[in-house]
Subunit: 108 residues, 2 copies
Amino acid sequence: MTEGTEQPAMAEQPRTEPRRDENTVYIGKKGVMGYVLAVVTQFNNGAEHVVIKARGKLISRAVDVEEIVRNRFLNDMKIRDILVKTEELTSEDGSLSKVSAIEITIGK
Amino acid sequence: MTEGTEQPAMAEQPRTEPRRDENTVYIGKKGVMGYVLAVVTQFNNGAEHVVIKARGKLISRAVDVEEIVRNRFLNDMKIRDILVKTEELTSEDGSLSKVSAIEITIGK
């Protein structure tokens, strides 16, 4: 659910449903460099900014991704905003649990 | 080294060495609530703001601490600043490794 995916920014792609998260990379359990590539790709496709989102223990990986993107690949990018919050998740048995989340926005 | 400790703000306490980190709570591997208590204690002792610092995988715990302090204990506190950066650590064999770090400042 929090698994990150690259979201190509090709406008001609047919849309069967509204894409709710343009310019967003969700951090999941894959290796850090995959998410770094996803962020760099979005900028290369013309994104003005990219939001890196993560929850729970993956928050530290989101910071790793942001630091690697800016220090190693895109030195002219800056951190525009860092938002932290608490999200409520409904587990399979219907109970609510709270989890911390982070959203790091980077751009020129 | 990154182990968090409560730092009482009693001015009359004898100082054998300069205290370099007033108003700072370092997040370590203990339970979250211990660090929450450390932050709340600093505010109760008159601190105007408290900085929560963590490195590596402990970054997510720093966000947990901040969220619990503000949502459950000190509702009037706000996030004043969130800083992320890369720190270089020297390991025992002398090699350098890089680690992400976060500093969350909360206050009224």
